[in-house]
Symmetry: C2
Subunit: 311 residues, 2 copies
């Protein structure tokens, strides 16, 4: 196993958007700047959304305008509509990440449109982005399951991927928005998308809500996926499950790939240092494992005398 993977950091957006406490703008800027030095090729910085709906993203333009742009890093932002896209373009994002839900009910709850209405709107936004010279990625939320409807039929998702390809998007992200995907399902859907759209830059976005996050990453990798979203500290919990874990954890994901011999281009010790600063920002403990246990390669001294009897 040596194929390189790309890990896209989404802590600034998906990590922080559901946090109860407003993270101060200078802290957000410092976080993104620190992450810029860790080797990411793409960082989702913020979201240009309704400040009423998502208060923690209300400083999107300020954050985007004040971060230090590092050469080789794509600074992207999530946008749900044309207005958001225009604001993101004005703020000079390198890429916009559009979003709609594969589930009709989730899309209705999220953006108050049917999926068909969303696709029409998306086509307009993609055109506007092209005119502005800004690549547009589309994230298909609830691509594996919807908290209101349950499992989403793979053919429905495949159809939406096709719609995105027809629009000329820069890439598509399949998002397991509330952590419902399982590895068998991931393997099947990734294989199907890759078989039909081999040239499409495909990203997988998993949440660890039910503990299957890294299993899904491994299943997707085995099926040929090489791009993954993740959030430092695994923050970004689900609104339906208070206390539940959030996005897959960046440093745990990087650790797994490095242990597997798959290069990530990321500096894990540096990520662990940055992850240590997160609890103070969000006001609660975060979900990383490696930050507590150390890397598998961090060895321990032999014990002096005690016998342990463990297996």
């Amino acid at each position: 196993m040596a194929d390189r993977v790309e890990i896209f950091e989404v802590v600034g957006r998906d990590g922080l958007q559901n946090e109860a406490r407003f993270v101060e703008t200078p802290d957000k800027i410092a976080l993104i700047n620190a992450l810029s030095g860790a080797g990411f090729t793409k960082i989702e910085v913020t979201a240009f959304v309704s400040p009423k709906a998502v208060p923690n993203m209300r400083d999107a333009a300020q954050v985007m305008g004040a971060i230090t742009r590092r050469s080789g890093v794509i600074y992207s932002a999530l946008v749900p509509n044309l207005r958001g896209a225009q604001a993101a373009i004005d703020a000079k994002v390198d890429e916009v990440n559009l979003v709609f839900s594969a589930s009709a009910s989730h899309n209705q709850a999220n953006v108050r449109m049917s999926c068909e209405e969303s696709l029409t709107a998306l086509a307009q936004i993609v055109t506007a982005c092209k005119e502005a010279g800004v690549p547009a990625n589309v994230s298909i939320a609830t691509a594996f399951g919807c908290p209101f409807e349950g499992v989403i039929a793979p053919d429905r998702v495949l159809g939406f991927v096709g719609n995105c390809v027809d629009m000329g998007v820069a890439g598509v992200t399949l998002a397991d928005t509330t952590g419902m995907a399982n590895p068998a399902q991931v393997s099947a859907l990734v294989s199907a998308v890759r078989a039909r759209y081999r040239a499409l830059p495909l990203t997988l976005h998993f949440h660890d809500t039910r503990g299957m996050g890294l299993a899904n990453v491994y299943a997707a990798y085995q099926a040929g996926a090489r791009r993954f979203d993740s959030a430092l500290g695994g923050i970004g919990g689900c609104p339906f499950a208070p206390g539940a874990t959030g996005n897959i954890c960046t440093e745990d994901t990087v650790h797994m790939f490095e242990q597997m011999g798959v290069p990530t281009g990321l500096n894990l010790p540096s990520l662990l240092e940055i992850a240590k600063t997160l609890p103070a920002l969000v006001g609660h403990d975060t979900f990383g494992h490696v930050i507590k246990a150390g890397r598998s390669c961090d060895l321990h001294p032999l014990p002096g005398g005690a016998s342990a009897q463990s297996a």
Copy 2:
């Protein structure tokens, strides 16, 4: 995917052995009795070890003697030596689970013997078990990595598996004692063991110390493994990593397999009910995800009005 898997519950032994608080004997008995009704084919009840080294297992004989034996369930116990095996046989266990470490330094720290000395001792114990008519499984600890030495060479582990097969053991368990295994390594070692010893009942024992627990389960399953140890609530943390997660969590593992369409024969709602009783027993929160987030199939009502904008 429809091959049935067997999940062996080890919370009574590996889950409780490192707990700081002594879990009262009647509570242990009630826990094992409750688990007996959930569909397990094998439950590791306790360990016959030095009460000084592992105080929480000091009531091994009492627990073993007082649980209600349910037909169809194998009640096993871990033993590190002949004395423990004799005590386990006297206590009428259905199976003994012997243990030694693939890592020389870990074995020395654990049982103060070289691996060669341990193999000689194991052969004697297996013979004693045969004479008593009690099957003996051998758990090879640190089969993927050692906290003192790092990665353990697969050929070394394969050799030890061969030694166990030659002794006529009932089965072998490859244990990732301190959660160092990664899915690529698991896939390779399980494939190698199965290629060489196809008839051997092989069990995988993972810890989630670094978040790779279910990824390793999935990798092992893909490589043909069908037997897994797990602990209710994911308890059983690592002595080297205070606060780190423990064994893979039974209810999360069962949930993943059921979502994948792989039968486990276990009653997940019942497991979740029993898991709810654990924090009161051990005096701290446990590590399960599904107990917090609900099953993927537990749907939510559509929200009334609020817009969420998530992906």
